[in-house]
């Protein structure tokens, strides 16, 4: 392969570790919002209260992480100038804003015991936005020229959805008395299985070359760690989740797995941007059959 002194063709993303951390907290908030809504609708207030707490904590941290990462944090409100469907970050800003507001209202009602109908409505809004909150970040990174992200655009949202369910189910199960935590345990198990299956599908789909950053280097190490933690957490939740100590250990493992997977994606993307091979070889292969002009 020819290159210009081995220099990158595209730029390395400038996002700092706050961004993959947010991918985790956003997913955690989304999964917990679904649990809150489901628990409330099924009359399981013990579970709903814990899920709402996890949801509110995660969605409160999220915008702080996002604003901290900006090059000019004082101008964060410029995100609210426009709404652009061609920019998943713009769409996401509105999802996070609406979801965060709804969760804040619900949490305030829960703590004060006031306005129960408003609380239900707010939980409904947060629950309805949750599937978007948990997966738009995958569309965000996929809408880039970074090979390890762009070429994973069909599978990556499922990886993030799986991680969202696994982490939220795990965290809420760990905080909830065992008899009320059944739905959280089951969501954790379903989510862990989805995360593992989707990650495998993504890495297989990327193929020999572009999949490399997920197998080697820091991205590879993190990816292996994520799989081990998620597999162990899923199995532990299935086998020992009904005992509180088992649920706590499984929840911690599932959250660790989901967090590591986001960092694996982050670092694999950076590595794929820095080496010109990942950009130029697939492009040359697809133009190879055309005559050179």
């Amino acid at each position: 392969m020819t290159s210009y002194y081995g220099r990158p063709i595209i730029k390395e993303p400038v996002w700092k570790p706050e961004i993959p951390t947010y991918f985790f907290t956003g997913g955690l908030a989304g999964g917990a919002a679904l649990l809150t809504l489901g628990a409330r609708l099924s009359g399981n207030d013990v579970l709903a209260r814990r899920a709402l707490a996890v949801n509110t904590a995660a969605i409160t941290v999220s915008p702080l992480l996002l604003i901290k990462d900006l090059g000019r944090p004082k101008l964060f409100y410029n995100m609210l100038r426009v709404f652009k469907v061609t920019s998943p970050m713009s769409v996401g800003t509105w999802i996070v804003s609406a979801s965060g507001t709804a969760s804040g209202v619900a949490a305030a009602c829960e703590v004060t015991g006031l306005l129960p109908r408003v609380k239900r409505a707010a939980e409904g809004v947060a629950g309805a936005l949750a599937p978007f909150l948990s997966t738009y970040t995958a569309a965000l990174v996929a809408d880039s020229v970074v090979p390890a992200w762009h070429e994973a655009r069909r599978e990556l949202p499922f990886v993030f959805a799986g991680g969202s369910a696994a982490s939220a189910g795990g965290a809420v199960a760990a905080l909830t008395p065992s008899r009320a935590a059944g739905p959280a345990r089951r969501l954790a198990i379903v989510g862990g299985a989805l995360e593992l299956a989707a990650t495998k599908a993504m890495e297989d789909g990327l193929g020999e070359l572009v999949g490399e950053p997920y197998r080697t280097g820091l991205g590879g190490t993190l990816s292996k760690g994520a799989k081990a933690a998620t597999a162990a957490g899923t199995a532990l939740m299935a086998l020992a989740g009904r005992r509180r100590v088992g649920a706590v250990a499984a929840g911690a493992l599932l959250c660790t797995g989901a967090l590591l997977e986001r960092f694996a994606v982050y670092h694999a993307g950076k590595a794929s941007a820095l080496d010109p091979r990942y950009t130029s070889v697939p492009q040359r292969e697809r133009t190879g059959r055309l005559t050179q002009r």
Binding site: M1, T2, Y4, Y5, R7, I9, I10, K11, P13, V14, G30, L34, G38, L41, S42, D69, L70, R72, L75, F76, N78, M79, V82, K84, T86, S87, P88, S90, T93, P131, F132, S134, T135, A139, A142, D143, S144, V145, V146, R153, R154, L156, P157, A161, S164, A165, G182, P183, A184, R186, V190, G191, L194, R242, P276, S280, Q283, R284, Q292, R293
Partner: protein, 268 residues
């Protein structure tokens, strides 16, 4: 709407799409373009380092380098061949940076060029990941924090002047003008070179059917694009955004299905 036919928009005459044709076959590597650009646009000094890569000590386009001259040394049958090429923002027809910018800071001007409004940019960095050419980056100097790139000298264009780099170019390797005129000239130049026996001459980003819809800045190259550090088949990532949104919606539905299973699927 055709430019120059007297039609107006918001009270102003419609402008033709303006751009650059960079003919690298006559670039002599003087770097006058780099210097003129830095001077006119007040682009800050970002370090003076020896790279060891031929005469290229700038390295690449970024927030603080809006024109970059590449120097390629190649071994050929009768000795050494030296390729020089002045690179710049391509002002793409389908500009990924503009598509993904969440603040609307990146806009298209009346000249069809792509410009970052510095007072609106909040430094989110999404444009950096969306440029197929690695043109944009974040300026850290002086705590700036914003994203910067070539403006095609928007201020000069508004005053009827040509961009600083084209003005300074002593060989007319950098040509500025209406894009359709430049395209015709570029095709003539390739033919001329082919007749003169330079079979490797080819145009880059002069085809509106390519992945970025052609560039407002396009090039005549003497070798494959990757030799100059350019992507061989650049594509605006937003072209595939429908697939990503579709997958995100499907994954969101899978998440809801998982929650339904969790609540309805067991008595434990």
């Amino acid at each position: 709407m055709k430019a120059g036919d007297g039609q107006t928009t918001y009270g102003l005459q419609i402008q033709p799409r303006m751009g650059f044709f960079t003919d690298t076959s006559i670039c002599i590597g003087c770097k006058a373009c780099e210097v003129a650009c830095k001077e006119w646009n007040l682009v800050p000094e970002d370090g003076l380092e020896w790279t060891g890569h031929s005469y290229d000590n700038t390295g690449a386009l970024d927030a603080n380098t809006w024109r970059h001259v590449a120097f390629v040394e190649q071994q050929v049958d009768d000795g050494l061949r030296w390729l020089m090429s002045s690179d710049v923002c391509k002002h793409c027809t389908h500009a990924g940076c503009l598509d993904v910018c969440p603040t609307g800071a990146i806009t298209r001007t009346e000249f069809g060029t792509v410009v970052i409004q510095d007072d609106v940019c909040n430094g989110c960095g999404y444009c950096v990941t969306a440029c197929p050419f690695g043109v944009i980056s974040k300026r850290e100097i002086g705590g700036d924090g914003g994203m910067h790139k070539c403006t095609l000298c928007y201020d000069r264009l508004e005053d009827g002047l040509e961009p600083a780099c084209a003005k300074a170019c002593p060989t007319k390797s950098i040509q500025f003008g209406p894009v359709d005129e430049l395209l015709a000239r570029a095709e003539g130049r390739v033919e001329e070179l082919h007749e003169a026996g330079v079979g490797d001459a080819r145009l880059y980003l002069a085809d509106e059917t390519d992945g970025v819809g052609g560039g407002g800045a396009f090039f005549l190259l003497l070798d494959r694009p990757e030799v100059y550090g350019l992507p061989p088949d650049p594509v605006d990532p937003t072209k595939h955004l429908g697939e990503a949104w579709g997958a995100a919606l499907a994954a969101g539905a899978a998440l809801v299905a998982g929650a339904l299973v969790a609540f309805l699927g067991g008595r434990r």
